[in-house]
């Protein structure tokens, strides 16, 4: 408990020093939150080779904006918000090409996978199936509009609560719920379209 408190105090001290322009004081903050930022970036962007560059840009941006941090929300939330916004801008710039839509799975193996998934405990999927499923849903997610992708990623992959997402995106919880519902629905429709197009 005391250790947590001292850690929080140290963090506040680092933030205050960084706000005075001491870039050295920002180092411990980078070390503390780098993995969190890496996770957000990776889940949102899904390009391993881009993650580190984007994370660096996010920390750079955060340092430049740190004077605007007013301790109202936690530093983690404030930083995550910058990360989400940065990735959102990135996603809007680099929209996935339509080529990524096509799934390299045969119709037969897709059906088999679906049958396995249909069971209430899809944990029973073997490694190969999981990989294919991951690839497939990853591709569907990649072609979703940036808004849908951000909100679905935060909910489904980052496991944020509706309230946390609302805080991150500066939205009302009710708005987040509606957007989540619409995003899921759109992805399902996209999956249906894919099926109707016969792949």
């Amino acid at each position: 408990m005391a250790s947590l408190e001292s850690e929080a105090t140290r963090e506040i001290e680092c933030i205050r020093r960084a706000q005075r322009g001491e870039s050295e004081a920002f180092g411990p903050l980078v070390e503390r939150y780098q993995q969190r930022i890496f996770a957000i970036v990776f889940h949102l962007v899904r390009r391993r080779d881009e993650v580190e560059d984007l994370a660096q840009e996010i920390f750079f941006k955060a340092f430049r904006a740190i004077r605007s941090y007013n301790f109202q929300s936690s530093f983690a939330t404030w930083l995550s918000r910058i990360a989400v916004n940065h990735c959102y801008d990135y996603l809007r710039k680099v929209r996935a090409s339509r080529i990524t839509y096509y799934w390299e799975m045969t119709e037969e193996s897709a059906r088999e996978l679906e049958r396995n998934v249909e069971s209430p405990q899809p944990r029973g999927l073997d490694h190969g199936e999981k990989l294919r499923l991951r690839d497939f849903v990853g591709r569907l997610l990649a072609r979703a509009p940036a808004d849908d992708r951000v909100i679905l990623t935060l909910k489904e992959l980052e496991d944020f609560s509706v309230e946390e997402i609302a805080e991150l995106l500066n939205l009302k919880s009710s708005t987040v719920k509606v957007r989540l519902h619409r995003a899921r629905k759109r992805m399902l429709e996209d999956l249906e379209r894919w099926r109707q197009e016969g792949k």
Partner: protein
């Protein structure tokens, strides 16, 4: 339950169980069965995506960020210096230009400065010859604000 209601329900399923009513509808409707299967595929896909290992920051990541911040700060300081100097230079040039323009324009615009303007235009000699200065003498400057007396 109809298909539309089922569609709304499936979008928010999040891995939960279907109600008895929904199960009954699904058992009779092939389209909704397919929809439900799609939803399960998506849920399982999201879980698989969430389980994927996140790349770790490479060694020295934080140090590189700090180095970049240092460079930016130094560059920023240099830039600020040049901006300040540059800005002052521009202001000074503007002020000089304005002063020059005023010296060209203002002399002809008023009765008091009319003479100065005339001086500037080389008409001073004529002015002096017609109105000798009582203070400065014949060769002195003219001072129009002192009423000139007629020589006795």
């Amino acid at each position: 339950m109809n298909c539309q209601a089922m569609r709304e329900l499936v979008s928010d399923l999040e891995g939960g169980e279907l109600s008895a009513e929904a199960r009954e509808h699904v058992s009779k409707c092939a389209a909704c069965r397919e929809l439900l299967r799609d939803a399960r595929v998506m849920q399982a896909g999201f879980r698989a995506l969430a389980e994927e290992a996140v790349p770790e920051a490479s060694f020295g990541f934080a140090s590189r960020v700090i180095r970049r911040l240092h460079e930016w700060q130094e560059q920023g300081a240099r830039q600020e210096f040049f901006e300040t100097v540059g800005r002052r230079f521009v202001y000074a040039t503007l002020a000089l230009t304005l002063a020059l323009l005023l010296s060209l324009v203002l002399p002809t615009s008023g009765p008091v400065r009319g003479v100065a303007g005339a001086d500037f235009l080389g008409l001073q000699v004529e002015s002096q010859s017609s109105q000798p200065d009582v203070i400065g003498g014949d060769l002195g400057d003219s001072h129009d604000w002192i009423p000139a007396r007629q020589p006795e």
